[in-house]
Symmetry: C2
Subunit: 318 residues, 2 copies
């Protein structure tokens, strides 16, 4: 039985996009949202046609406020493409899908940023307006962009991912602006929570940009509480997106063990799927406690049980 | 009888927004659109929520391609405000009305500008895509912004005009960036046309920014052909907008005579309304030929006759 905590725990989740958002739905089924802080990836932010788009933050926002288009995993359910189709009809090379409601949100954010507000404040306003129960913090308010180095040269993240369908072998990654970036307001404090969970997101391009902000990796390494990760790789495959191929092409093992190695020194435990139970002992050898669970969130029940298992591993009796 | 010319005349029209666009509909009823070049005002361009909006160019575009919302005089007929209402619902201070189709056009333009295309090329692409028959040239590709000095300080044009409903007494005007601005491609050539018409637009804030681009006023003063203006003031009042109050508060006479004085040295003739026929002799004294006509474009017939009269005054036998 899953028991709802009456007191908000102090829990922080490091999150990418779709996988993290689904995991977070499980988390807020198990613990009160008010006690949950999410540190979100901004490495795949982009300016599309003048509009500042934060795909990962928005996926968390839309998913946790039940506006998400479940089939796609991103965007607003039932949104219309009037503006986008007009732009295309006029000859614009509008390859990034933007619905009208989505555009309205980007307009609000872009206007605030133009007025000089930091992304964290714009995100807080959107969170309040949409009724997001948890606290969503961009990893940094500074400009940080994931650049994917391919045989065709350097690609910004969305060009690599959306436009070219993440088909290019990845030769390396870099996080433009990371060296100068500062953790967003509240981020370092959030990493000092009693429990930190790294969501089942791509460790290289979703969690990587968060860890690339100076001070974040160090704060996690020096954590006063527990930190655990949920593997986004099951049976050698990513639950979504190019994580497995990307891990392999960058010389890592496409398995929970490969992910655990990337997080060595940062996590105390890793939740891995039953399909990978055979790797538990090797994860253990890294000094990371393996926790075997059903990690494929095919329905709300599995999602909730996975969240409960992860929180238990993180020391929260959920 | 109005006779359609079979050969495109070489005619250039200096244009602001709504009044100019309505006048231009009359012009293309009388002469083939292919022979008409419009030099458009960009002083009231703005960036709204990240989107580059060119209100005067767009009003010409929409009006001449029969997409205009006739009741408002701007925007696309039947456009929806899904994105705008979303932005407002999220707390954005979205006071500038933008319909979804309009946003699509701004997205296309903003994307091209971000790719490094000049405004003239973006405008040419939009013109082609929408099937605009005439040639629409921004007065400059450089940044030029009309700043309205009021008792409450300096306001950008749209803040003065839309947000504050042009209610502030205007103490002075300045055109930010004008000194560094260069005439857009084709603009100076267009001013060397056999006939140039200054549309019935606000001489201070619609035509003023065009004349403020270095080289434009000089080219008009040295014109090889004829230049005429159509008065936007009838019986002491502007046909639309704040021109009359603005003329008065800046020390000019709110009459065709006041407008003629502003254009002294630049025009050979001025079309003024029957209501102002009494001023004809004073206009004449400025060395400007007065042409009395019905200038209130209340229906297509009047609009067409006014255009024919103006073109005749400009030396085109329409």
């Amino acid at each position: 039985m899953i028991r709802r905590l009456m007191q908000p725990p102090s829990l922080t989740v490091l999150a990418g996009g779709v996988g993290a958002a689904r995991f977070l739905r499980g988390v807020v089924d198990v613990v009160p949202a008010a006690g949950v802080t999410v540190v979100g990836n901004v490495g795949d932010d982009m300016v599309a046609h003048g509009l500042h788009v934060s795909p990962d933050l928005d996926t968390v926002l839309y998913t946790l406020t039940d506006q998400i288009d479940e089939d796609k995993g991103w965007g607003v359910r039932g949104d219309t493409p009037r503006a986008l189709e007009r732009a295309r009809g006029l000859g614009a090379d509008a390859w990034f899908w933007l619905g009208d409601l989505d555009i309205g949100l980007h307009m609000a954010r872009t206007g605030w940023l133009a007025d000089g507000l930091p992304l964290s404040e714009a995100t807080a306003r959107l969170s309040r307006a949409l009724g997001l129960g948890l606290r969503l913090l961009p990893a940094t308010d500074d400009r940080l962009r994931t650049i994917v180095v391919t045989d065709d040269g350097e690609l910004d993240f969305q060009t690599y991912y959306v436009r070219r369908g993440h088909a290019d072998p990845v030769r390396s990654l870099r996080f433009e602006g990371a060296e100068q970036a500062r953790p967003g307001p509240g981020v370092l404090q959030a990493l000092a929570a009693p429990a930190v969970v790294i969501a089942p997101s791509n460790p290289l391009i979703s969690i990587g940009p968060i860890l690339a902000v100076p001070g974040v990796r160090e704060a996690l390494a020096a954590r006063p509480g527990r930190c655990i990760a949920v593997s986004p790789i099951v049976g050698g495959r990513a639950l979504r997106g190019p994580a497995a191929d990307m891990l392999r092409s960058l010389g890592h093992e496409a398995s929970p063990l490969g992910v655990a190695r990337l997080y060595e020194g940062l996590i105390d435990a890793m939740v891995l799927d039953q399909a990978d139970a055979g790797l538990a002992s090797q994860v253990q050898l890294l000094g990371i406690q393996p926790v075997v669970a059903d990690t494929v969130m095919r329905d709300p029940g599995v999602r909730r049980r996975l969240a409960a298992e992860a929180l238990r591993a993180a020391g929260i009796a959920a």
